[in-house]
C-alpha cells in the first residue's frame, strides 16, 4: 500500500514536471529575446573613455590618468611675448625668448594612482605630485562626474631664502570633470596654493590662497580638439590693481596615438600652477601673450601578455 502511494505520488510528480516542461516550452523565450536579455546589461557602469585626451590641458591637470606601468614624458614650452617691446618680428614673435620650460614625468603606479615629477625654468621649481582618481564618470551616469585629487610640493633650490622651509610651496586640488557629449568636456577645479615665502615676495602678499580653474575641450575632428583654460586666484593681493592678471589660454590639441601635442596661446608665462597662480602679471590687453606647446609621449612598460589562446 505504502509503496503504491509512493509510486502514484512519483508518477504525479513526473506528470507535473512534464506538464511544467511543456508549459515552459510554450513560453520558452525565442532565441532573440533570450539574446537580448543576456546581453542587456553587459555595457552598464562602463567607465567613459577619455573626457580629455591628456593628463594636462594648458595650465590645469585633467581627470585623465596615466595607466598602470605607463610613463608619460612631458616637454612644455612657453615662449616670449608676441606683441610687446621685446617681441615682434625681431624675436620672431617671442620664439627667440623662452620664458618657461617644464620637463616632467608622470608614472602610473596603478590605473588610479600616479606620481608626477617635473622641473620648471621659472624659480627652478622642482615639483613632486601625487594624483589619485577618486571617481570615474560612467556611461550610464551612475557616476556623472570624474574626480581626481592632487597634492604636491615644490622646492626652489636656488636663490636667496631665509631658510630651507621658505623654498617650499604646496598645492592641493580636486578636479571635477564631465564629458557632456562625444565632443565636449568641461572641468572645474578648486585649488589651494601655499607658498612658505610669498611669490612674488612683496610686503602684503599672502602665503596661502584659494583659486578656481575652469577648462573645456571641444573635439573638432577625431584627432584634434580646441582647448580653453582659465585660472583665477582668490587673493586680496593678487588683484588687477596690483598688476595681476588671470591666466587665460587657448589651444589646439592633436593626438596621434602615443603622442599628444598641444599648441597654445596664453598670457601666463609660467607653466607650473604654483607659479602661474601665485604670480601672473602678463596681460592679453598689453600684448603680453605668447605661443606655447606641450609634447606628451606615453611609454608602456607592460610586458607582452602571454597568449591566452
Amino acid at each position: 500500500m505504502k509503496k503504491s502511494i509512493i509510486l502514484i505520488a512519483l508518477l504525479a510528480l513526473c506528470i507535473g514536471v512534464k506538464a511544467q516542461k511543456t508549459d515552459t516550452a510554450k513560453k520558452e523565450p525565442s532565441a532573440d529575446s533570450l539574446m537580448n536579455s543576456l546581453s542587456a546589461d553587459d555595457d552598464k557602469h562602463e567607465h567613459i573613455l577619455s573626457a580629455f585626451k591628456a593628463t594636462r590641458l594648458i595650465f590645469s591637470p585633467t581627470t585623465e590618468m596615466v595607466r598602470k606601468k605607463n610613463l608619460n614624458f612631458l616637454v612644455i614650452h612657453r615662449f616670449g611675448d608676441i606683441a610687446t617691446g621685446p617681441g615682434g618680428a625681431r624675436t620672431l614673435f617671442g620664439l627667440d625668448a623662452v620664458n618657461d620650460v617644464y620637463i616632467g614625468f608622470e608614472y602610473g603606479v596603478s590605473d588610479n594612482f600616479n606620481i608626477n615629477f617635473g622641473r620648471s625654468t621659472i624659480g627652478q621649481l622642482v615639483e613632486l605630485q601625487l594624483k589619485y582618481a577618486l571617481l570615474h564618470q560612467t556611461n550610464d551616469d551612475s557616476s556623472p562626474l570624474g574626480i581626481a585629487l592632487m597634492g604636491g610640493t615644490g622646492v626652489r633650490p636656488y636663490g636667496n631664502f631665509g631658510s630651507f622651509g621658505d623654498r617650499l610651496s604646496y598645492i592641493a586640488q580636486a578636479v571635477f570633470s564631465r564629458k557632456f557629449t562625444q565632443a565636449f568636456s568641461l572641468e572645474v577645479s578648486p585649488v589651494f596654493v601655499s607658498d612658505n615665502q610669498p611669490i612674488p615676495n612683496e610686503p602684503g602678499n599672502e602665503n596661502s590662497f584659494f583659486s578656481l580653474t575652469a577648462a573645456g575641450r571641444l573635439k573638432v575632428t577625431k584627432h584634434m580638439s580646441i582647448l580653453v583654460d582659465w585660472e583665477h586666484p582668490f587673493s586680496n593681493y593678487r588683484t588687477s590693481a596690483n598688476g595681476f592678471q588671470d591666466p587665460l589660454g587657448f589651444g589646439a590639441e592633436f593626438e596621434t596615438g602615443g603622442h599628444v601635442f598641444t599648441l597654445n596661446f596664453t598670457n601666463a608665462r609660467a607653466i607650473s600652477q604654483i607659479n602661474s597662480l601665485s604670480n601672473s602679471q602678463a596681460s592679453w590687453g598689453r600684448g603680453e601673450y605668447r605661443f606655447g606647446f606641450t609634447i606628451s609621449r606615453m611609454f608602456d612598460f607592460n610586458r607582452k601578455k602571454e597568449k591566452k589562446w
Binding site: I6, L7, L10, L11, C14, V17, K18, K21, T22, T24, A25, K27, E28, A31, D32, L34, M35, L38, S39, D42, D43, E46, I48, L49, S50, R67, K68, N70, D111, N139, Q182, K222, H223, T256, G257, G258, H259, M298, D300, N302, K304, K305, K307, K308, W309
Partner: protein, 181 residues
C-alpha cells in the same frame, strides 16, 4: 522499485527531449591584426551566445569594451578611433546553421553559418565556417574568419601610431550549457 527507476528514466528522457536552447555567457573572442610596426591582438571572454539546436539559429553578441589589449593606449584608440564603441557598443552575429547537426550524439561536425554580422553599426551578410563539437552532451563551437575594415566602414586614420591591418582575423570559441528558465 523497478517501476520507480523506470519512471525516473522516463522522466529524465522527457526532460532531455525538452532541451533545445543552449547558451554561453563567456564566449571567447580573439582579434588579431598583423601590422607593419607591431602585431595587434585583443582578447575577450565576455561575448554571449545563444544556440537553438532544433532550428540551428545561432547568435553572438560581443561588447566591444570587453576586448582587452596588451597596451592600454591601443585599447583606447581601438575604442575611440576605430570601433567608436560609444556609438556602437556591440558587435553581433545572427544567423542559422545550414543543416544543424544532431547534438544528442557525440561528434565533431563542420558547419556553415549564414547570417548577418554587425560590426561598427554596419551589417554584412556572411557565410562563416565553423565547427561544432559534442562531447558527453556538452556542445562547443569554434570558428575563425576574417573581417575587413572597409566592409564595416572602419576608417584607418593616416596619422595614428597604432595602425591596424585592413583584414582582421577573428577567432571564436564558445562552450554551451542548456538554458534553464
Amino acid at each position: 522499485m523497478k517501476y520507480l527507476s523506470m519512471l525516473l528514466l522516463a522522466w529524465l528522457t522527457a526532460f532531455q527531449a525538452g532541451q533545445d536552447i543552449y547558451i554561453c555567457k563567456n564566449a571567447k573572442i580573439n582579434m588579431y591584426s598583423s601590422a607593419p610596426i607591431e602585431d595587434i591582438e585583443a582578447n575577450s571572454a565576455g561575448a554571449v551566445s545563444v544556440y537553438k539546436a532544433s532550428t540551428g539559429e545561432l547568435s553572438f553578441s560581443l561588447p566591444i569594451r570587453s576586448l582587452h589589449f596588451e597596451k592600454s593606449l591601443m585599447e583606447e584608440h581601438f575604442n575611440e578611433n576605430y570601433m567608436e564603441s560609444d556609438k556602437y557598443p556591440k558587435a553581433s552575429f545572427k544567423g542559422k546553421i545550414q543543416s544543424p547537426p544532431d547534438v544528442s550524439k557525440d561528434g565533431t561536425y563542420p558547419v556553415n553559418v549564414t547570417g548577418e554580422l554587425e560590426v561598427h553599426g554596419i551589417k554584412q551578410t556572411r557565410t562563416i565556417k565553423g565547427e561544432i563539437k559534442v562531447n558527453g552532451g556538452v556542445i562547443s563551437m569554434t570558428s575563425e574568419f576574417i573581417v575587413k575594415c572597409a566592409d564595416h566602414k572602419i576608417d584607418i586614420p593616416q596619422i595614428v601610431f597604432h595602425h591596424i591591418a585592413e583584414n582582421i582575423r577573428i577567432r571564436v570559441a564558445a562552450t554551451y550549457a542548456p538554458y534553464k528558465n
